[in-house]
């Protein structure tokens, strides 16, 4: 039995690097410091859903084949395709992503990563107006106003509050954990009193069943870090917040534009915007201006709702306005553990962060035209390779329908929806558990991923599988070129 300390968790963009694993007989048997999702991965990764041998579809069923057979078949598909999509890349190492760019260029395809269905619009917004941002370390030590807009860190980034924002001890700002626990106790006490009163009255007053937005509580004016959550529904993160603003669906743009007006000392001549009374928004604008170091973290609530990249653009402009009065930064809550790396690697290799089209022999980038979702919906592809992602689960039905019309190569450790739909399936080693590498945290800080156990026999890393396919593609193309020259 051995204990491996300071392991980086390969799940979400937080990349918590304080995980402690107990390893026994080449298996992780205990996880310390991780969240529920972290524990589920480190303990559950070797479950029955694991793929252990390459497979190919024959007569409608996936049957085991040798690695050489699978590599040759995949290379044939890619070398002969006119417009293949190479998609995923966000749950693997930057070393594998680098090989992926070379392979995509070699086969003249489209390289796209999962940003297209998460923070692609954020990248577009940043390309419009730039981004005032910083590292999570700066936020941890200095931020006194935290805003989560259209995201629920308690569900998707469970340790974000604990490691980087409200519940962490910074050098200049203290953790609000004790204050939160006191608030919970007070709420529990209040509920007991209400319940007892109702029993005495024998008539329970029905609770209002409508969305209500209340004014800013007095506690927002006390010392210490403050947490505001803006969302369309009351999430667990919203329950933890000092102030929750319930915005109507698809109206974030209006709300942010109103805040820009109020921050700029302008007048708003309506009573409500996006379901929120303007008098409350004035209090919010005052809180934004009067903090010393504020941060907006935003998620899919902005990027996937009406407005999409325009929501991000206006959020960044709000932060830019605030910087004329105080210090403010903004950061997307990146989902997959190395989706940031996928953007970084793609940008440094090709010049563009996602949706890169190599079909003309040089990289082109035109979101809406070269993004894989649009290519899929227009059914312009003739093959696809999916690695370290699961579009079978996470793409709309119409896109998947067109994906499975053409040969589908899948590289993944899991038997997930995409593997089940694949024509050629490669098992791969878990990055960050069975193979090391580099991943980029949501604030663009690169961190090393550790290898803590050996992968199963015959299971290779993403990087090695891609390298073998690339080598085979080059051989097939060289043979073709030689034949053409002879003719």
């Amino acid at each position: 039995m051995s204990i491996v300390k300071s392991v980086t968790c390969p799940i979400c963009g937080c990349l918590c690097d304080d995980i402690e694993l107990t390893v026994e007989n080449n298996e992780v048997v205990k996880v310390k410091n991780g969240c529920a999702i972290c524990e589920s991965k480190f303990i559950g990764y070797r479950g029955h859903h694991r793929i252990l041998t390459p497979m190919m579809r024959k007569e409608g069923k996936l049957v085991p084949v040798s690695m050489d057979q699978a590599v040759h078949a995949a290379a044939e598909v890619l070398a002969n395709a006119n417009y293949p999509i190479l998609y995923g890349w966000s749950s693997t190492s930057s070393e594998a992503q680098r090989v992926g760019v070379e392979l995509t260029e070699e086969v003249g395809g489209i390289m796209d990563n999962t940003a297209v269905v998460c923070h692609g619009p954020s990248i577009l917004g940043v390309q419009e107006v730039g981004i005032p941002t910083c590292t999570l370390g700066q936020i941890r030590h200095r931020a006194d106003l935290i805003i989560y807009w259209g995201c629920d860190p308690w569900s998707a980034h469970p340790r974000h509050l604990e490691r980087y924002t409200s519940f962490t001890e910074g050098r200049f700002e203290q953790s609000q954990w004790k204050a939160y626990m006191q608030k919970l106790k007070a709420q529990a006490g209040q509920k007991k009193v209400e319940s007892a009163t109702a029993r005495i009255d024998a008539v329970r007053t029905p609770k209002p069943q409508t969305c209500t937005v209340s004014g800013m509580p007095q506690t927002m004016h006390s010392d210490g870090r403050k947490l505001i959550v803006v969302d369309v529904r009351k999430t667990m993160s919203a329950e933890m917040a000092d102030y929750f603003i319930q915005v109507e669906p698809n109206k974030d743009y209006e709300l942010m534009q109103t805040l820009r007006v109020l921050v700029g000392d302008g007048e708003v001549d309506v009573e409500k915007v996006a379901g929120v009374p303007v008098e409350y928004l004035k209090e919010v604008a005052d809180a934004l201006v009067n903090c010393e170091f504020g941060v907006i973290f935003f998620g899919m609530g902005l990027t996937q709702s009406a407005g999409k990249f325009r929501n991000i653009e206006i959020a960044i402009q709000l932060v830019r306005d605030l910087n004329s009065k105080t210090k403010f930064v903004i950061m997307p809550m990146r989902g997959h553990f190395n989706v940031t790396g996928a953007n970084v690697v793609s940008a440094w290799q090709s010049g563009y962060p996602y949706g890169v089209d190599f079909s003309l022999g040089y990289p082109r980038y035109n979101p809406g035209e070269t993004t894989c979702m649009d290519v899929l919906i227009r059914d312009e592809l003739d093959a696809s390779l999916v690695i370290a992602a699961d579009p079978g689960s996470n793409f709309p039905k119409k896109a998947v329908e067109n994906m499975v019309k053409h040969p589908l190569i899948v590289i993944d450790p899991h038997m997930n929806a995409t593997s089940m739909l694949g024509d050629i399936v490669f098992p791969s080693a878990f990055v960050g558990i069975e193979v090391g590498g580099t991943a980029y945290r949501m604030d663009h800080v690169p961190l090393p991923l550790k290898k803590v156990v050996e992968p199963p026999k015959g299971v290779f890393s993403d990087e090695e599988i891609l390298t073998r396919i690339l080598k085979e593609v080059k051989m097939i193309k060289a043979k073709k070129a030689a034949k053409k020259a002879e003719a």
């Binding site: 799940i11 529920a36 999702i37 589920s40 991965k41 559950g44 990764y45 479950g47 029955h48 859903h49 694991r50 409608g60 297209v116 269905v117 692609g120 619009p121 629920d152 569900s155 469970p158 069943q209 409508t210 969305c211 369309v232 529904r233 009351k234 999430t235 667990m236 669906p249 698809n250 899919m300 609530g301 990027t303 996937q304 709702s305 009406a306 990249f309 949706g355 979101p367 809406g368 993004t371 894989c372 979702m373 649009d374 919906i377 689960s393 996470n394 793409f395 709309p396 039905k397 119409k398 896109a399 998947v400 329908e401 499975v404 899991h414 038997m415 997930n416 929806a417 089940m420 739909l421």
Partner: protein
């Protein structure tokens, strides 16, 4: 009075249970339980005559899917339904990208009706019915 169909706004997104389920394995019971359900407002559930854990049929322009209705525990969400990310949500989410690559996973108009006698399909059954594999 019970309405046959209720017009709502569909949101899809993350839940902690979906996160735990996807890491445990997409063929796990945890993933199925976490993703083949739909959070609804309690009053909206009364309107279509369903209680928690009753099956419902959710339809959009993209198609229909049977899910288990669950009352959203934290606060009223009238007119909103929430389905965790997964193949069940994506059976009905809008594929319109507004020419920027991103489908509309949140804010799609939808209709909900009670379907107590319909079965929630497993992931394998759902993929077979949608894609024939």
């Amino acid at each position: 009075m019970v309405e046959q169909k209720l017009k709502v706004t569909l949101l899809s997104g993350r839940t902690i249970e979906q996160g735990v389920g996807k890491e445990k394995g997409k063929s796990s019971n945890e993933y199925f339980d976490a993703c083949s359900m739909c959070y609804m407002d309690g009053e909206d559930m009364k309107k279509i005559g369903v209680k928690s854990n009753t099956n419902i049929l959710v339809s959009t322009d993209e198609g229909s899917v049977v899910l288990k209705a669950v009352k959203y525990p934290r606060a009223p969400t009238p007119g909103l339904i929430y389905i965790p990310y997964g193949p069940w949500a994506n059976a009905i989410c809008s594929s319109k990208t507004t020419s920027i690559g991103m489908p509309t996973f949140k804010g799609t108009p939808a209709e909900v009706e009670a379907a107590p006698d319909s079965k929630v399909l497993t992931m394998a059954e759902l993929l077979k019915s949608e894609f024939g594999r």
